[in-house]
Amino acid sequence: MINKDLNQYSDFFSAYTELRMQENRNNRISMVNGDVMGNSISSSSGVSSRVYKEGNWGFASNPDLSDSAVEYVVQSASDNVRFMNDRNKIQCGFILPDTCGHYEMDLTTQVSRNSQKQWIDFLKDIDSYIQKKYSHLTSRTIVLAGLDMEKSLLTSSGSTSYSMTPRGIMYVSLNMEKNGEPVELMDVFGGLGQLEDHFLDPTQFYSDIDNLADHLSRKADGVYADAGTKDVILDADLAGILAHEAIGHTTEADLVLGGSVAGEYMGRQVSSELVTLIDYANSVDDKTCPVPVYIDDEGTPSEDTVIIKDGELKSFMHNKDSARHFETKPTGNARAYAFSDEPLIRMRNTAIEPGANTLEEMIAAIDDGYYLMKSSNGQADSTSEFMFGVPLGYEIKGGKLGNAIKDTTISGVAFDVLKTIDMISSDMTWSSGGMCGKKQWIPVGMGGPAIKCQVNIGGR
């Protein structure tokens, strides 16, 4: 446990200062073909401080949580900013926007905690079900992973916060051979909450596994996608990664300052008028998002950032320093992964707003194209050019679903692709287990409705 209340340390502050105590706790069990390949827990805790003065930052962290360690860390961060101030005087006189808020959130499960044996038994049950029902598979991998992020924060502006944000995930990967070649498919389950909030009853996942095995079987018999620019439906997984990777990153203010193409687009029509794209702070329609943030790690109360409204680029995501630069308000997007990490501008829960169509209407509207369901990974660029792996999809012929397709990729320039969106489904689904890498890895929420658009699809 970390101290929830850090107010006792405010006397250590002499300039703009953030003080954070944090503990990350992990539990990870992996089972491959019925053998326990990994069975580990870990915890990492410590205190960090970041001090701002004359346009420079100093940061220090230590794993010790004692009062003397807190004092030492604040002093070290102050020494570090002095080191910078003595050498770099270009930014003298910069003052950060002042923000203040208070919030406490504890999402610890309300049910009794499972023992490690119960989790291993849970995995054994799932594994046995797969082995018995799908004996033709060449391998099966199941991973259970829990992450608790517990943080407390005090800033010299008076902000205080405490949060315990858990995530519980299960990965299931199935592998088979077809004509001597391996074919693989994976799905992810769970999300916000501890493992107990998602995985108490293995039988609840049998139908999901049946579904995964069915898709794998169809994929093994699948066809290569025809290469070229095609009408496609990107289901929530892919629409979410498009929103996050290809648009979201280009509108993070630090990447805008680093030269991203979105820097030139503010106030312009950048997509179809059907598109409103939001980085939600903590909830949508009173439903909690996968990564709820109420006060960010700079002490700024978090608010939704409406990046695109009815097709027009409206806002970037900011921390205090970028808000100072752009002469606007910070948006509460500053987040750090570990106690030893400084807050960076990070997305929270990024999605296109749902529209008015059903998935069935969207499929019926395509004569020759693809319904693309899952993403394996994704990369995007400062130009918004993107590439996503697609491990699961189906042909659409004459408005109807056809053969499954083999692994493929889609690519395009996201701001161009957004202009081709002409249908958006009315439902909204968050992906489980989204992680984003940008100096530090951090959990993010990605998802949304399905969108109908045009992209380049790779063939053989």
Partner: protein, 438 residues
């Protein structure tokens, strides 16, 4: 600030802490036990959007425990180093092992002579780090004025790690090194290049940063990539993959000769020891002990003194990179934990290889999905150039390259004698045929 210890640990030296852990684990009933205690500090300077922004100092330490009891295994790591937490961790990790399932393959390394290893400095030259960063910013600003250094990070990390197990293995490793990385984008008006990044590690600060790794070349190419166009047509041709990009493809081979795929039974190369898996031009080593690299390691994760290894010798697969646990596959444990890769250079100058290309792409960055299990891949050629009739023609965008990695390595046309030393790896340029470009 020194690490704080309480209770009876207050009198222990760092090296004795893992001894204490092993003693407690065995006393508590572990059949076999392993402990790694490590402590270190990092000092890091950051530039953001072209300006110095942050000086960061992080200290950490941690203990990782693994126990085997009744052939069941549990692992635990904490970064609280005091007697109460360690004693609690000992109890918990044994409960974890008892909770698990037996596997005859669980084991720890057998007794080996105790050794201490060291490499690199243990204290940074902080003033020199700052001056080198300032020099780099001046150089990039004056030489490539259209290029924005989105972020540059220079750090010095040093630490000590102590490996102990209940078979009496005792290895100590101490070391430190500098690393530098930069991410950059070039911009002229509304024309923006793709971002690119480059970096290297070093044991000293004697080299001007832009001369390290591929940094100066990639900065120059970034400035040229502000205006790009697609390749003129779809074609099956050649690609020359730069040292900056080759790991995207080597990684697939390494994945197929490492624990997970061989244990799961999905490796494409499970029957390939002693067989050709690449053209005879390719020789790939894993050399954690190489003096040519600033990186490397002396002790493997499963508790053995690391050795250098040739993984692929003139196209022939010589060894898997398996841990002790992967003995269950029936194959031998590998000589090290992988990494520290070196590909032998060829005999032809890069310029001459480019001259030999009829139609192809010089691939500097690959933005692609994970390859299929059979090695099929496709992705976007980033920061790359179109080659026609032996000459680099222009920087390209919106260009896909696709093929099969297994076929590709069997179709190596040439390997350059030019190499890049990144500190952790040394790679040449490799020229492949039979790639689809669209």
């Amino acid at each position: 600030m020194p690490s704080q210890y309480w209770g009876s640990l207050a009198d222990l030296r760092d090296a004795e802490i893992p001894d204490y852990c092993i003693e407690q684990l065995v006393k508590a009933g572990a059949d076999k036990a392993q402990c790694v205690y490590s402590a270190g500090e990092k000092k890091e300077l950051n530039v953001d959007a072209g300006e110095f922004s942050l000086f960061r100092t992080t200290a950490n330490h941690g203990i990782s425990l693994s126990v085997i009891k009744d052939q069941k295994k549990g692992s635990l790591s904490i970064n609280k180093i005091n007697q109460d937490d360690i004693d609690e961790a000992v109890v918990t990790v044994l409960i974890m092992a008892a909770s698990s399932m037996p596997d005859e393959a669980y084991d720890i390394s057998e007794n080996q002579p105790a050794k201490s290893f060291s490499k690199g400095p243990t204290e940074p030259e902080l003033e020199k780090m700052y001056n080198r960063m300032e020099e780099f910013m001046d150089f990039s600003g004056s030489t490539f004025p259209t290029t924005i250094i989105e972020q540059a990070i220079m750090d010095f990390s040093a630490g000590t790690s102590y490996y102990r197990n209940s078979n009496g293995v005792a290895f100590d490793e101490t070391g430190g090194s500098y690393s530098f990385s930069a991410m950059f984008t070039s911009k002229e008006g509304e024309d923006t290049s793709s971002f690119n990044s480059a970096g290297f590690s070093s044991l000293d600060m004697d080299t001007t940063l832009h001369k390290g790794g591929s940094i100066e070349r990639l900065l120059k190419e970034s400035a040229e990539h502000v205006r790009t166009k697609p390749v003129p047509e779809k074609f099956t041709g050649e690609i020359i993959i730069t040292p900056d990009c080759i790991m995207n493809f080597i990684g697939f081979i390494l994945g197929n000769i490492s624990d997970y795929r061989l244990i799961a039974g999905t490796s494409l190369f499970r029957e390939s020891i002693g067989e050709a898996i690449a053209n005879g031009l390719l020789t790939l080593h894993s050399m954690p002990l190489s003096d040519d690299l600033s990186g490397g390691y002396f002790v493997t994760g499963d508790g053995y003194e690391a050795g250098n290894a040739t993984i692929i010798d003139q196209g022939i697969l010589k060894t898997f990179l398996l841990s002790l646990y992967a003995n269950k596959t029936g194959f031998e444990r590998g000589p090290n934990s992988g990494g520290s890769l070196i590909i032998d250079p060829g005999k032809t100058a890069l310029d001459d290889i480019i001259k030999s290309v009829q139609q192809g792409v010089l691939l500097s960055r690959f933005s692609g999905g994970s390859p299929s299990d059979n090695g099929d891949f496709s992705g976007v050629a980033k920061n790359s150039f179109y080659i026609k009739d032996g000459k680099i023609q222009y920087p390209i965008s919106e260009t896909m390259v696709s093929g099969n990695i297994v076929d590709m390595f069997n179709n190596i046309e040439n390997i350059s004698k030019d190499i890049v030393n990144f500190g952790d790896e040394i790679f040449p340029w490799i020229h492949f045929g039979g790639i689809t470009v669209s």
